[in-house]
Amino acid sequence: MVNVDTPSSLGRPRGNPRVLYPLLDWDREVLVLGIESTAHTFGVGVASTKPPYILSSVRDTYRPEKGGIHPREAAGHHARVAPEVLAEALRVAGISMNDVDAVAVALGPGLGPCLRVGATIARGLAAYYGKPLVPVNHAIAHIEVGRLYTGLQDPVILYVSGGNTMVAAFAKKRYRVFGETLDVALGNLLDTFARDAGLAPPYIVEGLHVVDKCAEEATEPADLPYVVKGMDVSFSGLLTAALRAWQHARSKAEKASICLGLREIAYGAAVEVAERGLAHTKKNAVLLTGGVAASPILREKIGIMASYHSANAGWPPPPIAGDNGAMIAWVGLLNYLAEITINIDESFVRQRWRPDEVEVPWR
Protein backbone atom coordinates (compact mmCIF):
# COMPACT_ATOMS: atom_id res chain seq x y z
CA MET A 1 0.00 0.00 0.00
CA VAL A 2 1.31 3.44 -0.91
CA ASN A 3 1.53 6.06 1.84
CA VAL A 4 1.65 9.62 0.61
CA ASP A 5 2.79 12.48 2.84
CA THR A 6 2.68 16.14 1.95
CA PRO A 7 4.05 19.19 3.78
CA SER A 8 0.67 19.70 5.40
CA SER A 9 0.22 16.07 6.50
CA LEU A 10 3.70 16.11 8.06
CA GLY A 11 3.35 19.44 9.83
CA ARG A 12 5.90 22.20 9.85
CA PRO A 13 9.46 21.22 10.85
CA ARG A 14 10.37 23.00 14.10
CA GLY A 15 14.05 23.28 13.26
CA ASN A 16 15.56 26.15 11.32
CA PRO A 17 18.28 24.89 8.97
CA ARG A 18 20.19 28.15 9.26
CA VAL A 19 20.52 27.50 12.98
CA LEU A 20 21.04 23.74 12.72
CA TYR A 21 23.55 23.96 9.85
CA PRO A 22 25.19 27.39 9.95
CA LEU A 23 28.08 26.17 7.79
CA LEU A 24 25.91 25.57 4.73
CA ASP A 25 24.67 28.12 2.22
CA TRP A 26 20.88 28.35 2.65
CA ASP A 27 20.52 31.18 0.14
CA ARG A 28 20.94 28.71 -2.71
CA GLU A 29 17.85 27.13 -4.20
CA VAL A 30 18.46 23.41 -4.29
CA LEU A 31 16.14 20.43 -4.75
CA VAL A 32 17.24 16.87 -3.97
CA LEU A 33 15.42 13.62 -4.62
CA GLY A 34 16.07 10.86 -2.07
CA ILE A 35 15.60 7.12 -2.33
CA GLU A 36 15.28 4.76 0.63
CA SER A 37 15.35 0.97 0.23
CA THR A 38 17.50 -0.40 3.05
CA ALA A 39 14.94 -2.84 4.49
CA HIS A 40 11.20 -3.39 4.08
CA THR A 41 10.26 0.14 2.98
CA PHE A 42 10.75 1.61 -0.45
CA GLY A 43 10.44 5.37 -0.20
CA VAL A 44 11.09 8.45 -2.29
CA GLY A 45 11.07 12.03 -1.02
CA VAL A 46 11.98 15.51 -2.18
CA ALA A 47 13.86 18.05 -0.05
CA SER A 48 14.40 21.75 -0.63
CA THR A 49 16.64 24.45 0.88
CA LYS A 50 13.49 26.57 1.20
CA PRO A 51 10.51 26.08 3.54
CA PRO A 52 8.73 23.74 4.05
CA TYR A 53 12.01 21.84 3.36
CA ILE A 54 10.34 18.47 2.83
CA LEU A 55 8.11 18.71 -0.25
CA SER A 56 6.95 15.12 -0.40
CA SER A 57 7.44 11.70 1.13
CA VAL A 58 5.96 8.64 -0.53
CA ARG A 59 6.55 5.08 0.58
CA ASP A 60 5.37 1.55 0.16
CA THR A 61 6.18 -1.05 2.79
CA TYR A 62 6.59 -4.74 2.07
CA ARG A 63 4.63 -6.85 4.53
CA PRO A 64 5.30 -10.57 4.38
CA GLU A 65 2.23 -12.81 4.73
CA LYS A 66 3.91 -14.69 7.54
CA GLY A 67 7.32 -14.93 9.14
CA GLY A 68 10.01 -12.29 9.11
CA ILE A 69 11.45 -10.25 6.30
CA HIS A 70 12.79 -12.17 3.30
CA PRO A 71 15.39 -9.89 1.72
CA ARG A 72 14.88 -11.18 -1.81
CA GLU A 73 11.10 -10.92 -1.68
CA ALA A 74 11.38 -7.43 -0.20
CA ALA A 75 13.72 -6.49 -3.04
CA GLY A 76 11.20 -7.82 -5.56
CA HIS A 77 8.51 -5.72 -3.92
CA HIS A 78 10.70 -2.62 -4.09
CA ALA A 79 11.40 -3.11 -7.78
CA ARG A 80 7.67 -3.50 -8.48
CA VAL A 81 6.49 -0.42 -6.58
CA ALA A 82 9.40 1.87 -7.49
CA PRO A 83 7.97 3.53 -10.63
CA GLU A 84 4.70 4.47 -8.95
CA VAL A 85 6.35 5.70 -5.71
CA LEU A 86 8.84 7.80 -7.67
CA ALA A 87 6.16 9.35 -9.90
CA GLU A 88 3.95 10.14 -6.92
CA ALA A 89 6.79 11.77 -4.95
CA LEU A 90 7.56 14.07 -7.89
CA ARG A 91 3.88 14.82 -8.46
CA VAL A 92 3.21 15.73 -4.81
CA ALA A 93 6.32 17.95 -4.79
CA GLY A 94 5.08 19.56 -8.00
CA ILE A 95 8.35 19.06 -9.84
CA SER A 96 9.86 16.95 -12.59
CA MET A 97 13.18 15.11 -12.67
CA ASN A 98 14.66 17.98 -14.64
CA ASP A 99 14.13 20.36 -11.70
CA VAL A 100 16.12 18.16 -9.35
CA ASP A 101 19.72 19.19 -8.59
CA ALA A 102 20.87 15.80 -7.30
CA VAL A 103 19.76 12.25 -6.64
CA ALA A 104 20.49 10.88 -3.16
CA VAL A 105 20.36 7.26 -2.12
CA ALA A 106 20.79 5.31 1.11
CA LEU A 107 23.77 3.07 0.35
CA GLY A 108 23.62 1.40 3.76
CA PRO A 109 23.41 0.00 6.32
CA GLY A 110 20.78 -2.52 5.33
CA LEU A 111 19.95 -5.73 3.53
CA GLY A 112 22.01 -6.31 0.39
CA PRO A 113 19.24 -7.20 -2.07
CA CYS A 114 17.06 -4.32 -0.88
CA LEU A 115 19.90 -1.80 -0.96
CA ARG A 116 20.78 -2.79 -4.50
CA VAL A 117 17.29 -1.94 -5.80
CA GLY A 118 17.50 1.63 -4.53
CA ALA A 119 21.09 2.03 -5.66
CA THR A 120 20.31 0.74 -9.16
CA ILE A 121 17.39 3.12 -9.56
CA ALA A 122 19.37 6.08 -8.21
CA ARG A 123 22.31 5.37 -10.50
CA GLY A 124 19.97 5.07 -13.47
CA LEU A 125 18.23 8.37 -12.71
CA ALA A 126 21.51 10.18 -12.10
CA ALA A 127 23.01 8.89 -15.34
CA TYR A 128 19.93 9.42 -17.50
CA TYR A 129 19.16 12.95 -16.26
CA GLY A 130 22.81 13.92 -15.81
CA LYS A 131 22.50 14.66 -12.09
CA PRO A 132 25.12 14.16 -9.39
CA LEU A 133 24.65 11.09 -7.20
CA VAL A 134 24.83 11.66 -3.43
CA PRO A 135 25.54 8.83 -0.94
CA VAL A 136 23.60 8.84 2.33
CA ASN A 137 24.02 6.79 5.49
CA HIS A 138 20.59 5.59 6.61
CA ALA A 139 21.22 5.99 10.36
CA ILE A 140 22.50 9.53 9.92
CA ALA A 141 19.41 10.31 7.83
CA HIS A 142 17.17 9.29 10.75
CA ILE A 143 19.15 11.57 13.05
CA GLU A 144 19.30 14.63 10.80
CA VAL A 145 15.67 14.59 9.73
CA GLY A 146 14.84 14.17 13.43
CA ARG A 147 16.82 17.31 14.20
CA LEU A 148 15.02 19.14 11.40
CA TYR A 149 11.56 18.23 12.69
CA THR A 150 12.27 18.68 16.42
CA GLY A 151 14.72 21.58 16.22
CA LEU A 152 16.96 19.88 18.81
CA GLN A 153 20.45 21.26 18.30
CA ASP A 154 22.66 18.62 19.89
CA PRO A 155 20.67 15.69 21.26
CA VAL A 156 21.52 12.22 22.43
CA ILE A 157 19.74 9.99 19.95
CA LEU A 158 17.76 6.86 20.75
CA TYR A 159 17.16 5.22 17.39
CA VAL A 160 14.80 2.26 17.71
CA SER A 161 13.39 0.38 14.75
CA GLY A 162 12.93 -3.10 13.38
CA GLY A 163 16.62 -3.49 12.64
CA ASN A 164 18.30 -1.02 14.99
CA THR A 165 18.51 -0.15 18.64
CA MET A 166 21.19 2.47 19.07
CA VAL A 167 22.26 5.24 21.40
CA ALA A 168 24.33 7.81 19.54
CA ALA A 169 25.54 11.37 19.97
CA PHE A 170 27.70 13.84 18.11
CA ALA A 171 31.28 14.05 19.42
CA LYS A 172 34.58 14.85 17.77
CA LYS A 173 33.20 15.44 14.26
CA ARG A 174 31.09 12.29 14.04
CA TYR A 175 28.00 10.59 15.32
CA ARG A 176 29.47 8.16 17.82
CA VAL A 177 27.70 5.00 18.85
CA PHE A 178 27.55 4.70 22.64
CA GLY A 179 25.24 1.73 22.91
CA GLU A 180 23.43 -0.84 20.82
CA THR A 181 21.51 -4.04 21.11
CA LEU A 182 23.68 -7.10 21.61
CA ASP A 183 21.20 -9.20 19.64
CA VAL A 184 17.59 -8.38 18.69
CA ALA A 185 16.39 -4.86 17.87
CA LEU A 186 13.49 -3.37 19.86
CA GLY A 187 11.05 -3.33 16.96
CA ASN A 188 11.99 -6.83 15.99
CA LEU A 189 11.44 -8.00 19.59
CA LEU A 190 7.92 -6.54 19.68
CA ASP A 191 6.99 -7.81 16.22
CA THR A 192 8.41 -11.30 16.71
CA PHE A 193 6.67 -11.70 20.05
CA ALA A 194 3.37 -10.41 18.65
CA ARG A 195 3.57 -12.76 15.68
CA ASP A 196 4.62 -15.88 17.58
CA ALA A 197 2.06 -15.21 20.33
CA GLY A 198 -0.67 -14.93 17.72
CA LEU A 199 -1.40 -11.26 18.43
CA ALA A 200 -0.39 -10.14 14.93
CA PRO A 201 -0.80 -9.38 12.08
CA PRO A 202 -1.93 -6.65 12.02
CA TYR A 203 0.87 -5.27 14.19
CA ILE A 204 -0.53 -1.80 14.71
CA VAL A 205 -4.14 -1.25 15.77
CA GLU A 206 -5.53 2.26 16.29
CA GLY A 207 -2.01 3.69 16.34
CA LEU A 208 -0.82 1.27 19.04
CA HIS A 209 1.42 -1.76 18.72
CA VAL A 210 -0.57 -4.88 19.61
CA VAL A 211 1.86 -5.59 22.48
CA ASP A 212 1.13 -2.12 23.92
CA LYS A 213 -2.58 -2.82 23.52
CA CYS A 214 -2.47 -6.25 25.12
CA ALA A 215 -0.53 -4.76 28.08
CA GLU A 216 -3.32 -2.27 28.79
CA GLU A 217 -5.38 -5.02 30.41
CA ALA A 218 -2.76 -5.76 33.08
CA THR A 219 -1.67 -4.09 36.28
CA GLU A 220 1.16 -6.39 37.38
CA PRO A 221 4.04 -7.00 34.98
CA ALA A 222 5.25 -10.59 34.68
CA ASP A 223 8.78 -11.21 35.93
CA LEU A 224 10.99 -11.53 32.84
CA PRO A 225 14.73 -11.02 32.28
CA TYR A 226 15.98 -7.42 32.15
CA VAL A 227 19.42 -7.15 30.57
CA VAL A 228 21.39 -3.92 30.34
CA LYS A 229 25.19 -3.98 30.03
CA GLY A 230 26.97 -0.68 29.86
CA MET A 231 24.88 1.25 27.34
CA ASP A 232 23.93 -1.94 25.51
CA VAL A 233 20.69 -3.87 25.79
CA SER A 234 19.98 -7.52 25.10
CA PHE A 235 16.48 -8.68 24.21
CA SER A 236 16.91 -12.28 23.05
CA GLY A 237 16.55 -13.77 26.56
CA LEU A 238 13.48 -11.62 27.14
CA LEU A 239 11.88 -12.79 23.90
CA THR A 240 12.46 -16.47 24.68
CA ALA A 241 11.22 -16.16 28.27
CA ALA A 242 8.12 -14.19 27.27
CA LEU A 243 7.16 -16.71 24.60
CA ARG A 244 7.71 -19.62 26.97
CA ALA A 245 5.54 -17.95 29.63
CA TRP A 246 2.89 -17.27 26.98
CA GLN A 247 2.66 -20.99 26.14
CA HIS A 248 1.91 -21.79 29.76
CA ALA A 249 -0.45 -18.89 30.38
CA ARG A 250 -4.05 -19.96 30.89
CA SER A 251 -6.06 -16.84 31.55
CA LYS A 252 -6.37 -13.63 29.64
CA ALA A 253 -5.10 -11.80 32.71
CA GLU A 254 -1.93 -13.88 32.75
CA LYS A 255 -1.31 -13.13 29.09
CA ALA A 256 -1.84 -9.42 29.63
CA SER A 257 0.71 -9.42 32.43
CA ILE A 258 3.25 -11.03 30.09
CA CYS A 259 2.63 -8.24 27.58
CA LEU A 260 3.05 -5.65 30.31
CA GLY A 261 6.24 -7.28 31.59
CA LEU A 262 7.67 -7.45 28.09
CA ARG A 263 6.75 -3.86 27.35
CA GLU A 264 8.01 -2.42 30.63
CA ILE A 265 11.29 -4.29 30.38
CA ALA A 266 11.89 -3.59 26.70
CA TYR A 267 11.00 0.11 26.83
CA GLY A 268 12.51 0.49 30.29
CA ALA A 269 15.86 -0.91 29.14
CA ALA A 270 15.87 1.23 25.97
CA VAL A 271 15.08 4.38 27.96
CA GLU A 272 17.67 3.44 30.56
CA VAL A 273 20.50 3.18 28.02
CA ALA A 274 19.42 6.49 26.50
CA GLU A 275 19.57 7.95 30.01
CA ARG A 276 23.06 6.52 30.44
CA GLY A 277 24.03 8.17 27.15
CA LEU A 278 22.60 11.47 28.31
CA ALA A 279 24.41 11.37 31.68
CA HIS A 280 27.64 10.29 30.01
CA THR A 281 27.69 12.91 27.25
CA LYS A 282 26.15 15.66 29.44
CA LYS A 283 23.98 16.81 26.53
CA ASN A 284 20.72 18.62 27.23
CA ALA A 285 18.31 16.96 24.82
CA VAL A 286 17.09 13.55 23.70
CA LEU A 287 15.85 12.69 20.24
CA LEU A 288 13.70 9.59 19.90
CA THR A 289 13.50 8.28 16.37
CA GLY A 290 13.05 5.15 14.23
CA GLY A 291 9.83 3.23 13.66
CA VAL A 292 9.27 2.44 17.36
CA ALA A 293 9.25 6.19 18.10
CA ALA A 294 5.61 6.00 17.02
CA SER A 295 4.78 4.36 20.38
CA PRO A 296 3.06 6.92 22.64
CA ILE A 297 4.10 4.86 25.64
CA LEU A 298 7.77 4.94 24.74
CA ARG A 299 7.54 8.69 24.09
CA GLU A 300 6.02 9.30 27.47
CA LYS A 301 8.82 7.32 29.12
CA ILE A 302 11.49 9.24 27.23
CA GLY A 303 9.85 12.48 28.33
CA ILE A 304 9.93 11.43 32.00
CA MET A 305 13.57 10.37 31.71
CA ALA A 306 14.57 13.67 30.08
CA SER A 307 12.87 15.63 32.87
CA TYR A 308 15.20 14.00 35.45
CA HIS A 309 18.10 15.65 33.66
CA SER A 310 16.38 18.95 32.80
CA ALA A 311 16.74 17.92 29.17
CA ASN A 312 14.38 18.50 26.26
CA ALA A 313 12.84 15.51 24.54
CA GLY A 314 11.52 15.36 21.01
CA TRP A 315 10.51 13.02 18.23
CA PRO A 316 9.51 13.56 14.62
CA PRO A 317 6.02 12.65 13.37
CA PRO A 318 5.73 8.87 12.78
CA PRO A 319 5.97 8.95 8.94
CA ILE A 320 9.28 10.83 9.34
CA ALA A 321 10.53 8.75 12.30
CA GLY A 322 10.12 5.47 10.39
CA ASP A 323 12.00 4.59 7.21
CA ASN A 324 11.20 7.03 4.40
CA GLY A 325 12.68 8.71 1.34
CA ALA A 326 12.36 12.27 2.65
CA MET A 327 15.09 11.75 5.24
CA ILE A 328 17.43 10.48 2.53
CA ALA A 329 16.56 13.53 0.43
CA TRP A 330 17.25 15.78 3.43
CA VAL A 331 20.73 14.40 4.17
CA GLY A 332 21.30 14.23 0.41
CA LEU A 333 20.67 17.98 0.40
CA LEU A 334 23.09 18.58 3.27
CA ASN A 335 25.73 16.46 1.57
CA TYR A 336 25.17 18.17 -1.76
CA LEU A 337 25.57 21.61 -0.16
CA ALA A 338 28.77 20.30 1.45
CA GLU A 339 29.91 19.08 -1.98
CA ILE A 340 29.77 15.39 -1.17
CA THR A 341 28.88 13.34 -4.22
CA ILE A 342 29.97 9.95 -5.48
CA ASN A 343 30.92 8.55 -8.88
CA ILE A 344 28.37 6.12 -10.19
CA ASP A 345 30.93 3.38 -10.66
CA GLU A 346 32.08 3.78 -7.05
CA SER A 347 28.60 3.81 -5.53
CA PHE A 348 28.72 0.38 -3.91
CA VAL A 349 26.14 -0.55 -1.30
CA ARG A 350 27.50 -1.01 2.23
CA GLN A 351 25.45 -3.43 4.28
CA ARG A 352 27.24 -2.67 7.55
CA TRP A 353 28.00 1.00 7.11
CA ARG A 354 28.21 2.44 10.61
CA PRO A 355 27.41 6.09 11.35
CA ASP A 356 30.77 6.63 13.05
CA GLU A 357 32.53 5.80 9.79
CA VAL A 358 31.13 9.00 8.27
CA GLU A 359 32.84 12.32 8.86
CA VAL A 360 30.04 14.89 9.22
CA PRO A 361 31.02 18.09 7.40
CA TRP A 362 27.94 20.15 8.15
CA ARG A 363 28.30 20.38 11.93
Binding site: G108, P109, G110, L111, A139, G163, N164, A171, K172, R174, R176, V177, F178, E180, T181, L182, D183, A185, E220, P221, D223, Y226, V228, K229, G230, D232, L260, G261, E264, I265, Y267, G268, V271, E272, E275, R276, L278, A279, H280, E300, K301, I302, I304, M305, Y308, H309, Q351, R352, W353, R354, D356
Partner: protein, 221 residues
Amino acid sequence: MEITKELKPIHRGAEAYLYLIDWFGKKAILKHRLPKKYRHSKLDTLLRRRRTVAEVRAIKEALRIGVMVPAIYYVDPIEAIIVMEYLPYPSLSGIIEGGDLEKAIRASEQVGRYAAKLHEEGISHGDLTTSNVLVGDHVYLIDFGLASLHSTERDNAVDVHLFLRSLESTHPEHVDTVFRAFLDGYRSIRGEKTEKILGLVEEIRLMGRYKAERRTLWGQQ
Protein backbone atom coordinates in the same frame (compact mmCIF):
# COMPACT_ATOMS: atom_id res chain seq x y z
CA MET B 1 15.36 8.96 51.55
CA GLU B 2 15.50 11.50 54.37
CA ILE B 3 19.21 11.96 55.02
CA THR B 4 20.06 12.66 51.39
CA LYS B 5 17.59 15.56 51.27
CA GLU B 6 20.05 17.85 53.00
CA LEU B 7 23.07 16.83 50.98
CA LYS B 8 24.23 18.09 47.65
CA PRO B 9 25.28 15.35 45.25
CA ILE B 10 28.86 15.44 43.99
CA HIS B 11 27.83 13.37 40.99
CA ARG B 12 24.50 12.91 39.28
CA GLY B 13 24.84 9.70 37.31
CA ALA B 14 22.27 8.04 35.12
CA GLU B 15 20.98 5.76 37.84
CA ALA B 16 22.39 7.08 41.08
CA TYR B 17 23.27 10.25 42.95
CA LEU B 18 26.57 10.21 44.81
CA TYR B 19 27.17 12.21 47.98
CA LEU B 20 30.37 12.90 49.87
CA ILE B 21 29.62 12.26 53.54
CA ASP B 22 31.39 11.91 56.86
CA TRP B 23 31.44 8.33 58.09
CA PHE B 24 32.76 8.16 61.65
CA GLY B 25 35.40 10.74 60.87
CA LYS B 26 36.30 9.34 57.48
CA LYS B 27 35.20 10.76 54.15
CA ALA B 28 32.87 8.34 52.39
CA ILE B 29 30.72 8.07 49.29
CA LEU B 30 27.01 7.46 49.66
CA LYS B 31 25.51 6.04 46.47
CA HIS B 32 21.75 6.19 46.21
CA ARG B 33 19.98 4.51 43.31
CA LEU B 34 17.01 6.67 42.47
CA PRO B 35 13.51 5.49 41.62
CA LYS B 36 12.61 5.92 37.95
CA LYS B 37 9.03 6.70 37.06
CA TYR B 38 9.53 5.55 33.48
CA ARG B 39 9.53 1.95 34.66
CA HIS B 40 6.67 0.12 36.35
CA SER B 41 7.20 0.64 40.09
CA LYS B 42 7.40 -3.08 40.81
CA LEU B 43 10.10 -3.60 38.20
CA ASP B 44 11.94 -0.48 39.28
CA THR B 45 12.04 -1.47 42.96
CA LEU B 46 13.26 -4.93 42.04
CA LEU B 47 16.03 -3.61 39.79
CA ARG B 48 17.36 -1.07 42.26
CA ARG B 49 17.53 -3.64 45.04
CA ARG B 50 19.04 -6.28 42.85
CA ARG B 51 21.74 -3.93 41.59
CA THR B 52 22.57 -2.67 45.06
CA VAL B 53 23.08 -6.22 46.26
CA ALA B 54 24.96 -7.23 43.11
CA GLU B 55 27.33 -4.30 43.52
CA VAL B 56 28.18 -5.16 47.12
CA ARG B 57 28.62 -8.86 46.45
CA ALA B 58 30.82 -8.32 43.41
CA ILE B 59 32.98 -5.81 45.27
CA LYS B 60 33.45 -8.33 48.06
CA GLU B 61 34.53 -11.00 45.56
CA ALA B 62 36.82 -8.57 43.77
CA LEU B 63 38.55 -7.74 47.03
CA ARG B 64 39.05 -11.42 47.75
CA ILE B 65 40.92 -12.02 44.48
CA GLY B 66 43.08 -8.90 44.62
CA VAL B 67 41.20 -6.51 42.39
CA MET B 68 41.26 -3.03 43.95
CA VAL B 69 37.80 -1.65 44.70
CA PRO B 70 36.29 0.75 47.25
CA ALA B 71 35.70 -0.83 50.68
CA ILE B 72 32.03 -1.17 51.57
CA TYR B 73 30.99 0.45 54.87
CA TYR B 74 27.23 0.01 54.80
CA VAL B 75 24.45 -1.25 52.59
CA ASP B 76 20.67 -0.84 52.64
CA PRO B 77 19.11 -2.85 49.81
CA ILE B 78 15.58 -1.62 50.58
CA GLU B 79 16.54 2.03 50.14
CA ALA B 80 19.10 1.07 47.47
CA ILE B 81 21.94 2.79 49.32
CA ILE B 82 25.60 1.88 49.61
CA VAL B 83 28.18 3.73 51.68
CA MET B 84 31.71 3.06 50.52
CA GLU B 85 35.29 4.24 50.77
CA TYR B 86 35.97 7.59 49.13
CA LEU B 87 38.62 7.29 46.44
CA PRO B 88 39.70 10.83 45.55
CA TYR B 89 41.10 9.97 42.14
CA PRO B 90 40.37 10.92 38.54
CA SER B 91 38.75 8.43 36.19
CA LEU B 92 40.66 6.73 33.38
CA SER B 93 38.40 8.65 31.00
CA GLY B 94 39.61 11.92 32.52
CA ILE B 95 43.23 10.83 32.26
CA ILE B 96 42.94 9.95 28.59
CA GLU B 97 41.17 13.22 27.79
CA GLY B 98 43.72 15.11 29.91
CA GLY B 99 46.42 13.79 27.61
CA ASP B 100 48.52 11.72 30.02
CA LEU B 101 48.66 8.81 27.64
CA GLU B 102 51.51 7.03 29.38
CA LYS B 103 49.56 6.88 32.60
CA ALA B 104 46.44 5.84 30.73
CA ILE B 105 48.27 2.98 29.06
CA ARG B 106 49.68 1.71 32.34
CA ALA B 107 46.24 1.91 33.95
CA SER B 108 44.58 0.13 31.03
CA GLU B 109 47.03 -2.73 31.29
CA GLN B 110 46.02 -3.06 34.93
CA VAL B 111 42.33 -2.92 33.98
CA GLY B 112 43.04 -5.78 31.57
CA ARG B 113 44.62 -7.80 34.39
CA TYR B 114 41.70 -7.02 36.69
CA ALA B 115 39.12 -8.00 34.09
CA ALA B 116 40.97 -11.26 33.43
CA LYS B 117 41.15 -12.09 37.16
CA LEU B 118 37.43 -11.43 37.55
CA HIS B 119 36.64 -13.50 34.48
CA GLU B 120 38.75 -16.39 35.75
CA GLU B 121 36.48 -16.41 38.81
CA GLY B 122 33.30 -16.27 36.75
CA ILE B 123 32.64 -12.63 37.54
CA SER B 124 31.73 -10.15 34.82
CA HIS B 125 31.64 -6.43 35.55
CA GLY B 126 28.78 -5.51 33.21
CA ASP B 127 29.76 -1.86 32.74
CA LEU B 128 33.47 -1.90 32.07
CA THR B 129 34.15 1.58 30.68
CA THR B 130 36.85 4.19 31.12
CA SER B 131 34.51 6.14 33.46
CA ASN B 132 34.33 3.25 35.88
CA VAL B 133 38.06 3.06 36.47
CA LEU B 134 39.67 5.39 39.01
CA VAL B 135 43.42 5.94 38.83
CA GLY B 136 45.53 6.90 41.84
CA ASP B 137 48.67 5.14 43.08
CA HIS B 138 46.64 2.04 42.39
CA VAL B 139 43.98 1.38 39.81
CA TYR B 140 40.43 0.83 41.13
CA LEU B 141 37.33 -0.60 39.51
CA ILE B 142 33.97 0.86 40.58
CA ASP B 143 30.28 0.68 39.66
CA PHE B 144 29.56 -3.07 39.87
CA GLY B 145 25.75 -2.78 39.82
CA LEU B 146 25.46 -4.76 36.57
CA ALA B 147 27.97 -7.43 37.61
CA SER B 148 27.25 -11.14 37.48
CA LEU B 149 28.86 -13.71 39.76
CA HIS B 150 28.10 -16.55 37.37
CA SER B 151 29.40 -15.19 34.13
CA THR B 152 29.70 -17.17 30.94
CA GLU B 153 32.58 -16.57 28.53
CA ARG B 154 30.10 -14.61 26.47
CA ASP B 155 29.37 -12.30 29.41
CA ASN B 156 33.11 -11.91 29.83
CA ALA B 157 33.48 -11.07 26.16
CA VAL B 158 30.79 -8.41 26.56
CA ASP B 159 33.02 -6.75 29.20
CA VAL B 160 35.88 -6.61 26.70
CA HIS B 161 33.52 -5.31 24.02
CA LEU B 162 32.23 -2.59 26.37
CA PHE B 163 35.73 -1.44 27.22
CA LEU B 164 36.67 -1.30 23.56
CA ARG B 165 33.48 0.54 22.68
CA SER B 166 33.95 3.12 25.38
CA LEU B 167 37.30 3.86 23.74
CA GLU B 168 35.73 4.06 20.28
CA SER B 169 32.91 6.36 21.32
CA THR B 170 34.66 8.59 23.81
CA HIS B 171 38.36 8.44 22.96
CA PRO B 172 38.45 7.60 19.25
CA GLU B 173 41.99 8.95 18.82
CA HIS B 174 43.47 6.47 21.27
CA VAL B 175 41.61 3.25 20.58
CA ASP B 176 44.58 1.28 19.27
CA THR B 177 47.18 2.07 21.92
CA VAL B 178 44.90 1.89 24.92
CA PHE B 179 43.12 -1.27 23.85
CA ARG B 180 46.42 -2.96 23.07
CA ALA B 181 47.56 -2.25 26.63
CA PHE B 182 44.32 -3.65 27.99
CA LEU B 183 44.81 -6.82 25.97
CA ASP B 184 48.41 -7.18 27.11
CA GLY B 185 47.20 -7.10 30.69
CA TYR B 186 44.35 -9.46 29.98
CA ARG B 187 46.57 -11.92 28.17
CA SER B 188 49.15 -11.91 30.96
CA ILE B 189 46.53 -13.56 33.20
CA ARG B 190 44.31 -15.54 30.83
CA GLY B 191 46.87 -16.53 28.18
CA GLU B 192 45.38 -18.72 25.46
CA LYS B 193 41.82 -18.08 26.57
CA THR B 194 42.21 -14.51 25.39
CA GLU B 195 41.92 -15.55 21.75
CA LYS B 196 38.66 -17.31 22.45
CA ILE B 197 37.33 -14.18 24.16
CA LEU B 198 38.39 -12.06 21.20
CA GLY B 199 36.58 -14.43 18.87
CA LEU B 200 33.44 -13.97 20.96
CA VAL B 201 33.92 -10.20 20.95
CA GLU B 202 33.98 -10.25 17.17
CA GLU B 203 30.90 -12.43 17.14
CA ILE B 204 29.05 -10.05 19.47
CA ARG B 205 29.97 -7.14 17.24
CA LEU B 206 28.66 -8.90 14.16
CA MET B 207 25.46 -10.09 15.84
CA GLY B 208 23.19 -7.16 15.15
CA ARG B 209 21.96 -6.90 11.61
CA TYR B 210 24.12 -3.96 10.71
CA LYS B 211 27.18 -4.38 12.87
CA ALA B 212 30.67 -3.41 11.81
CA GLU B 213 32.56 -5.43 9.29
CA ARG B 214 35.15 -7.71 10.82
CA ARG B 215 37.71 -5.41 12.37
CA THR B 216 41.33 -6.36 12.72
CA LEU B 217 42.16 -4.23 15.72
CA TRP B 218 43.21 -7.21 17.76
CA GLY B 219 44.86 -8.87 14.77
CA GLN B 220 48.24 -8.78 16.48
CA GLN B 221 47.30 -12.20 17.95
